[in-house]
Every structure is written in structure tokens, then in C-alpha cells.
Amino acid sequence: MKAFLILEDGTVFTGTSIGSTREIISEIVFNTSMTGYLEVLTDPSYAGQAVVMTYPLIGNYGICQEDMESLKPWPDGYIVRELSRIPSNFRSEDTIQHFLKENDIPGISGIDTRALTKILREKGTMNGMITTNEGFDLDDVISRMKNYEVTGVVKASTCKETFVLSGNGKKVALLDLGAKKNIAHSLHERGCEVTVYPALTKAEEILAANPDGIMLSNGPGDPKECTEIIAEIKKLYDSNVPIFAICLGHQLMALATGADTHKLKYGHRGGNHPVKDLETGRVYISSQNHGYVVDVDTMDPSVAVPAFVNVNDGTNEGLKYTNKNIFTVQYHPEACPGPQDSSYLFDRFLNMMEER
């Protein structure tokens, strides 16, 4: 069946429908990872967005349940050049075609994803519609698209109830803002007992459990929308419990401590961005997925100083909080997908809890 991807700027791509035939409007973003399509699909940070994979051959190794970063796929839509006809991998349990259908994710294949990526790069992230309705009215569609905003996505993607991954080591409270599974897993495999809290949990409740450390996870959407959570995070900041935050957690901590955030033209999504550790001068290749960034000039240096910077565009990639056991990063040390080069940050967090 034919499918169409219509962009806010009026561009129309014609391809083949994959997954659900449901019509959706969403924010269109691109990801440059060459492997890890399932991890991308199941990363809750994509809630409210439709993802374009720039790598043209997707689905080659099928679906391996254990690689899922959450219980279900989150993007509103999925845009690819080509889906592999058969999957081939010893762990594969399903085809991506079936996976998309089963989870009611609409998508489009057979389009020039590079041309699409270039539009997003030049004009910035924009909204788009995926539809199988050949009789769409472009003007109508465009006006509907213009009204679309990514909203309420943290609430939608966080866990409903607190749960615990038991362990004998340090007790870590993980605030799930739309967390990828491997954050909890990375702590758990280091022996930590991880208690995962829903995003709207009160700081008092978390602190009452007397954790050795607090982990703020990644998550979707505009950080400034999360005003309630920011207020709670401020309390966590004041608590003196060691905190490590990733991505949205990093942005919320910055907002809680007086800095501002802004939306990048087209974000960073992929597994190849170099991040420089300003303390050591070392450069690490990172896994990235963010559309917003901390405006580092608005951060009071007596509160926090830049700890990591993106070598490509100089944007902030991490903060070290002054006189606090707090450090936060914009990128994803939990990888999945992407390079594992920064997994040492979890060790750093463990040391921080140890030294406290």
C-alpha cells in the first residue's frame, strides 16, 4: 500500500506503508545509527516523535526482545529507506515488519531518507504526517501539522509504579523520566539495588528511603514543560545525596538550579558524536539522543561548570556541580544503541557514593 510523508514545509515523499496504516502527525527527527534500530524504537525519549533512520537497510537482524530498552516502541512513526525482507541473526525472534504492526506503529519505507534528512538539517526539525490516504488535502494537513506540539510525553512514558531491582550493593533511587532499561541495568550489574520511581514521585518519598545515590534518567520532550518535576529535583539537589543524571535528567537539574535550555535546530541523534571531558582532555565517542540542550552561559558558575563539551558544535554535554556530589551528562553512557565508551561514568557514580 502507498504511504505518504508530508512535511510542514509542504514536501511530500511517496513510499510504501509499513506497520500500521493509521494516520499520524508527529515531530520528525533523524537518527544516524547504523545498528540498534530496536533500541531506538524502544527508547522512550522518542515519545511524541517520528524517527527517520539515515542508514538505509533496517531490520537485517530482526527483533531480539532482550535488546528492547523498554516494554514497547515509543515513536509515533517510523521512516526508513528499506526494510530487510528476512531477518538473520541467531537471536532474532520476530521480523521488524510484524513488530511494527503488532505495536500499531505506522511507518513508511522506500523514500529517499537522505533527501529528507537534508531538509531537516537545513530547515530544522519540523512536524510531519504519515498517511496512507491518497486524497489528502495539503493545505489542511499543513495547518493541522503546524498545531502539533510534543507534550505530556514524560507522564506517558514513565513507569506507573515504583519497583525494585534487588542487589547487595549501593542503594540507588532511579527517577524514571522515560528511562532506558540499560540505565537501571548498568547500575544493577554493578551490584546496586535499584529502586525505580515514577517521574512524579515527590522528593520526600525518594529521600525517605535513604538512598546512597540518586539517578535521574533520560526522557522525552521539552524539559521546560516538566515544571513539577523540576521543583522536586531542586529538593534532591539540596539533599546532599550524590546524584548522577543523564539527558533529560541533566537538563532538569540545570533548570532546577537556575540555568536555561533551548531547542537545537535538529538535535543530536546517533552513535558517533565526540564528547570531550574538559577535566582530562580525553575525547569519547558517545551515544546521543536529544533535541534540547542546556544553555551553559545561563548557568551560574558558582553552581555548576561545564564538564563535557561536544567537539563538533561546542554545545554542552555535561556539568559538574560545585561543592556538590552531582554530575550530569547530556549523552548516554548506558549506550544501547551506540558506543559503550562512557560506561565508566557509572563507575564514577559508584565511587562518588562510596566516598560520601
Partner: protein, 1067 residues
Amino acid sequence: MPKIQDIKKVLVLGSGPIIIGQAAEFDYAGTQACRSLREEGVEVVLLNSNPATIMTDKDIADKVYIEPLTVEVVEQLILKEQPDSVLPTLGGQAGLNLAMELEDSGFLKKHNVRLIGTTALTIKKAEDREMFKETMEKIGEPVAPSDIVENVEDGLRIAKEIGYPIVLRPAYTLGGSGGGIAENPAQCREILENGLRLSRVGQVLVERCISGWKEVEYEVMRDGAGNVITVCNMENLDPVGVHTGDSIVVAPSQTLGDKEYQMLRTSALKIISELGITGGCNVQYALHPDSFEYCVIEVNPRVSRSSALASKATGYPIAKVAAKIALGYTLDEIKNAVTKKTYASFEPMLDYCVVKMPRLPFDKFLSAKRTLGTQMKATGEVMSICTNFEGGLMKAIRSLEQHVDSLMSYDFTGLTDEELTETLHLVDDRRIWVIAEALRRGFSYESIHDITKIDVWFIDKLAILIEMEEALKKGPLTTELLKEAKRLEFPDTVISRLTGVSVEEIYDRRKENGITAAFKMVDTCAAEFAAETPYYYSCFGSENEAIQTSGRKKVLVLGSGPIRIGQGIEFDYCSVHSTWSFSKEGYETIIVNNNPETVSTDFDIADKLYFEPLTPEDVESIVDVEKPDGAVVQFGGQTAIKLTEALMKMGVPILGTAAEDVDAAEDRELFDKILEECEIPRPAGHTVFTAEEAKEAANKLGYPVLVRPSYVLGGQGMQIAISDQDVDEFIGIINQIAQEHPILVDKYIMGKEIEVDAVCDGEDILIPGIMEHIERAGVHSGDSISVYPAQSIDHEVKEKLVEYTRRLSRALHVKGMINIQFIVCGSDVYVIEVNPRSSRTVPYISKVTGIPIVPLATQVICGHSIKELGYEPGLQPEADYIAVKMPVFSFEKIRGADISLGPEMKSTGECLGIAKTFNEALYKAFAGAGIKLPKHKNMIITVKDSDKEEVVEIARRFQAQGYKIFSTSGTAKVLNDNGVKALMVRKLEQESPNLMDLILGHEIDLVIDTPPQGADRSKDGFIIRRNAIETGVTVLTSLDTAQALVTSMENKAKELTLIDIAKVKNV
């Protein structure tokens, strides 16, 4: 300014002559690195014995020494030039081995010279099998269970412990020479004996056989600060068991999930960190197809064939970055030259699929085994880029230049299902075609996978191509079907063959429906950032990104495709220089080529690079977009010449010599007419079409005769026939290589072969020099030792040569280059071949005379006259130096190939000896070719009857050099009768100890064996030559070569004079 400020003068080691396993990729890496070093103000001294390279140009390095790559030469050079550093990681295994020897002997330390780009410890950790294993164990990286052995008995014992099948790998050899898989003790013994001999350190690794696992490679980089990145990973379609150089390789990996991808990436980065490499490194893995188990197969701590491939596949210039790292820069300080926005400390992301296919030399060695194993056999490779794997494979296939254009190109329809199943077990260069036939017959993916171990993902892709063949056959050819066929990169010619619709109609229908190739950019970053480097590939069903630009006149420079015997790196040299010259003339330059190993496909050589197959349709797609003002075909060898007619049909003017004149030189009758008009004699001959006509012609001319197909390169299919029976056999072979052109039968004249390259502006000619071949006529010019200036011809002959060249150039209206081969017999001069294009000898003659021939030819093509360019027309004064060009062969790599020299070219590369005297030049040339004698001072001489008289003096001279001579009865008798002591040794079929035992006893330096001419070759001779070659013995099959060798030994100078050819100036 280098980051490490006391690096001011660097000696760069090249890799020497092109051999299998060490080819053009090192010219590419070396050239890039030298330019990168000079950008930083470092003075570069270059040593490389290979004259056909761009890196040995005076524009590339400050001082250029085309001298043998031996320890003695490097030591002498270090004393002479006093560099503060040596950069050995760009010269392949040859460069590393040299560096190790210098380090081990303490020479570097003594003279205060440091190694940059690597350390001796790093090289040892990566290359010494035992240390490598220890290092891997230390960091917990798995390697296959193995042990190092230094003798056969230990090897057999270890093999038994590990369990068969086992893999044997000799330490410190190129392209896995001498290695192999043994299924049983007998095979194990055979491979061990050979491998122990070939290993520089006499060690062979005996290892668990992991054949059938997925083979995956990572190209990684590290800087002095410890930052590490991955440039690219690659997956071999052929599982472990086939050398990666002989495998079909795809980038990035296709069947690995992120978990597997990252697991191996992390491992590779751990390894490069532990080895402390500063620069690039290649790590090869075997990955179990049904688990996360993996083994590290090999680590190459230097740039390599794979790194060249990775550079071209991603756009990331590994060698350039490695050179900067060697000077102390860190990855985050080096700009990404493609995007000019990002830095070298990022990982390229591909939004396309790259397919590499090996170019194997079995078309040249019909008797050779086509089986592929752990020893590399490919002479070169092609790469293609597409948005899907199927299209990439189709493009790669048609880039190979071996009469293949689809999965239908080899016919296995004659096999029964059982035979086909049997054939699937054969691992050779036609395997994917066998699989294609199996798929056509409905063999299941699983059954094919069970036999071949090729991942079903790839098998499914082949099936998609087969299904398209069938859909096209079935028809009708709807627009949708045509669109899909083009998306899969079916050429119009193949679609036409399958559908019966004419190529013209397909073309028209494509145009009508907008089914045209679009060009996409290779930008290292999957379009995340705007890139400025115009490096393009084509695909269908996409938006075109190539932008027509500049307003300058545009010239299309057609490259020469994969490196193969007969068409080597020299044509890349010519293409690149021509491109640079057109650029200086104000043209916008566009290169089309498909060879990932070469300088021409570096992204900053031309204004635009199209990485595409060199077929008429592919070139036309580029022409449609670029609309060039002209195309130049005379620098890209036969590949480019073959496109002449197609380009003219597209309306692209051919710059330089006109197409009809190119034709006239190849068309026998036209050419004969021209020779007649010019009053130039040629050996009598006839053009024939059948064996009967050929025999009639041969008898009319009188045997011996030369039989060859017209329109070929490298003398392919050319043979000397001495009887009707030979003619029958040769015509049979010629017809096998799909000849559409007539066959030429010429009288064979035994004389001196002379070669001339000239530039002609339509009026005047410029001859930089006259070259003479050491071997008499009958040995292909590419396989002959060639001497400049000619040593044994007199003034009168010279005048004749010049005059004939002038007449021919004018008659053929040559504008640009011409290459003529003559035979001189007494004072008679015959023309045997004319090529109105650049030739193999151009780079070397340019370098020794200091005359920039290709730039001159290009300027002439652009309309300048020779006089205007400041040259006096005619033969140029002789240079101050004598140069000897020595062919280099790779026979030991190709099992079953006959090594005897003849009219068909067999050498893979060449080296040069330059000196003030002929003898020193000759000595250097032999040394450069790796012939370092004497060692044991034992030799075998066995010659055909007609050579027996002539061999006596040669034998006497070897004896005077202290050689003990062994001969079979006939030769021994002649020698002894003439007072040369020869020990009789039994023939092969006789009881032991015989000739074979002598060879296998490893005490023989040299075998001189001249095979009888014609098809009646003795089987014995063949076996002797093969065994000698495979045990590392030098074998000469021409008395002329033998005489040259003994001359060089007699005149071995105590100390060589090293010559900086950057200072050679034309007077």
C-alpha cells in the same frame, strides 16, 4: 608546524613493488601521508623502489630515493640524509619489517633516529605471534587456541592436540603467504614445510580452525593522548576461511545487531589502546554465527588494504590523519577534511552500503587453482556504493573488467543438482554464481547456508536478484518493473537480454519515466552536516545531489579500474597527473574510477570524484549530469580506451588523439596500410578468424609464429606457436576468453625488443628516451627487464627509431601519448605494436629523465605545442643516470600457475634500479626485486636443447661466483663437456634423491629452467618450477635474465650510490 617540535625531517618507507597482498593501497596511503606531513612543514625523505607510484614524485616528497628497500640501503640513507624520524607504518608489511630490523640491530638508537607512528614494542606485540597471544590474554581478548612452532614435528604434535582442521599461519609474511587450512597430518606437513621457509623468523602459528564463522573487521585509530575511535567496520560475505583480500566485503556490517557491533568495537578499541598504537590499526575478528563468542584473528598495526578500503568507503582519510597523529596531534585537533566542520575525532556514519569484490588473476593463469583460502590471491579490487546491497553487488560485478555483468555471467546450468551441490562446496571466485544457479533451481536458503556458511541475509539478497532476472524474463517490462530493476542496478544491457526489449528502447523508456541515476554524496556523516567534498555515487529512485558548477571547462578523466596483471598502478599514476595538469590548465576535473586502493580515488585529487563502474551506461549517467566539455581516455589504460566509442555516441568530444586513429592502431588492416604508407616494416602477419585460417597463415609465414587476439592488454592470450598443434590449442584458449575480435598471426622474429614512449602535438614529437629489453622478443614487455637508455643499439638504429616514431605519430594524428614497441634485428627495425595511449613505462621514464611526460601530453592535448612548452622536438639528450626496470612476480601466491615467461604478461609489479653505471643499476634492480644472492651457492640448471650451447658461458660465470651447479643428464653433459663442473641429479620421475629432493632440501638459491617453446611443455619442468617458487627459490626461465643476474653479481659494488631523483633535471 608539528606538535612534537623536534620532528623536522622524516624518512618515509614505501612498500616497494606491487605484489599480491601489497598493492596500490600503499601508494594511496603513502601519498596522502607525505602531503599531510609537508602541510605541517616537515621535510620528507621518501624511499620506495617502485617507480610506478605517485608517492615517488618530486611533487610529493622533498627528496625521493627509488632504491631497494633493504636494511643496507635504509642505513646508508639515514647516514646520508640524517632524518630525525622514520615513519614505517605506511609501507605495509615491507615497511614494518624493515623498521623492526633497524630497531633490533640498534642502528636507530645509535644514530638518534626515532620511529614515529608506532614503536618497536607495538609492532612486536601485534606481529610476533607469541607476544600477540600474551597481550590478548592479558586484556582478556580471546584468540583461537594456538601455538607457535619452529619445526614440522612440533607442528604436527600441536595440530593433533588442537584437533583438525587447523589453520597454519607463518609469522611476518605478506597476504598470508604460505598459510593454509590443513584437514589432516599430510596437508599439515606440506603447508608447514613451506610456511616455515617463507616466514622471516621461521615460525608458523598452528591454530584452531574457526572456518565458517562470520569474518568482521574494524578499522580503528588512536592518538598519543589515548583517544580512540572506529572509522568503519566491515563484514565479509565469505565466512572465515577465505582471506579478507579475496572475500566479498560489505561496509558497514549487515547481520550484526548493536550488541555484537558494540562488543567487537569495544574489543578493537581495547586492543589498539593496549598495543599503544598512535595511528591506524586493523583488527580482524571471527564471530561465531550462533553466539556472542568471538576470536581476534589478526591485528595490523599500520595502514593496510583494509584501511584504504575503509577510507574510501567512509570518506575518512585514515593515512592523512595517521600522519598528523605521528606528528603529535590529537584527533580532536585534526579537522575532518570532508565536512570541514567536524573533527577527526568522530566516527563516520554511512547512509549507503559499500561492496568490495576482489579482482583475481585466474584469467591470466588458466592452469591455476581457483580455490580461495587463507592465502590472498587477488591482484586488486573494486568497490561500489549503493543504497542497497543488491545494487552494490551488481555494480561491483560489472566493475571487475572480466566479462561479467550479472549473476548470469558464469553458466552452471549444465550441472546436475548433485554436481551443483558438490560445486557449492568449492570455495572459489565463482561461488556466488554457483549459489545463484542453486537459487534458480529452488535450493533452500538453509541448504545453501549449511554448505557455504554464508549468512542467509546475503543469500536472500542474491535471491532477490534472481527473482528480478525471472520477473524480467517473464515480462512484460512495465514501468514499475523497470524502476525496480534499476533500483537493483541491473544494467540496460542485461535487462535487454532478459526481456528482448532493445537497449535503445529501454533507455528511452527510462528517460520518459524519469528512471535515471541520481548521485549522492559520500560525506562521512549520513547528511548530518553539510559537506563540501564532492565525492559521489549513483543510485536509482533518489534525488540528485551532484550540482553542476563553476563555469569552467569540464574534463572527464576515466580511470583504469581494478589493478590486474597487465594494467597496474602506472595507469593510476598517469590518470592522476593528467588530472592535476588539466586543473592547472584551468579545467574543472572529474575522475571516474572504481578502485578503492588508488590515489585517483582520493577525494581531493580531482574537483569531483565519481566512484562508479567504468561501463558505457554508468559513464553516460555521469555525462548526463555533468555535461563535460570533453573526456580524456589515453591515460586510463585499456579500460578507458574501451569507452571511447561509447563516449563519442554520447556526444562527448575525445580530447587528444581521435577515436578513429586509436582504432586504426588496433585494426590490423588499417594499421598495415598506415605502416605501408610510412614505409615502416613489421613482421609479416595475417588476420584470421578460425583455427584453420590460422594454421594456413602460420605455414605461409613459417613457424615460429605469434598468435594473439586483437584488442587486449598485457598480451592476454598471446602465444608463440611452433606447430599446427600449438595453433589449435591456442585458438581454443583465445576463444574461451570471449573474443569478438579477429585473431592475429605474425611471424615471430627473434631480436632485441625496444620500446619508445613519445608525446606528439600533431606536428612534432618528443621522445624522452629509448628503452631496451634485456629478454629477447617473445617475452612480454611488462615482464622484461627494461633498460634506459638503450645500451646496445647504434646511432643508425636510433635514428631509425626516432624517424619511425615521428612518421607513425603523424600518420595516426597523435595528440598526446604514444607507445611503440620495436624489434631490432641487426640494423633492421620492425614495429610490433603501437598504442596511442599512455603506457606502463611512462612513470619510470618520467622519473629517470626528469621530463614530466604526462603533464606535457596533457598540455599538448589542451592545445600547446611541444616547442611552446620549451622542449626541442625529437629524442631528448640522455639523462645522467641509467635506469633498470625489473619486473616482480607473485607466483608463489598462485598455486598451479605456470611461471615461465612468454608473450602473455605475468608480473604484478616492478621496481627500479638507478645508478651512474649499468651494472650498479642492474644490481639495485635485482636487490629491489628481492633477489639477494648468493646465499647457499647452490643452483640448478636445466635448459631446453636449443639453449644448451648458450648456457655454458652463463654457467661458467656462476661457477666463478662460487656456485655449485646441479643439472639433469642432458644439461650436465653439455656443461661438463665444456669444462663447467656440473653435478648430475636425477630427473623428477626417477627414484629419490632426485631434483625435487634437492629443491625441497632448501639449500638451493636459484633454478635456471628454460621450458621448450610451444604447447609441448614438459610437465617435469612445470613441477620443478612450481616447487621451487613455492619453497621461496628464485627461478629464471630466460637465459637473458640469468645472464643479467650473474652480471649484477659480478659487479656487486661495495657501497651503493644513493640518488635523489627529485634532483634529476632535464637538461
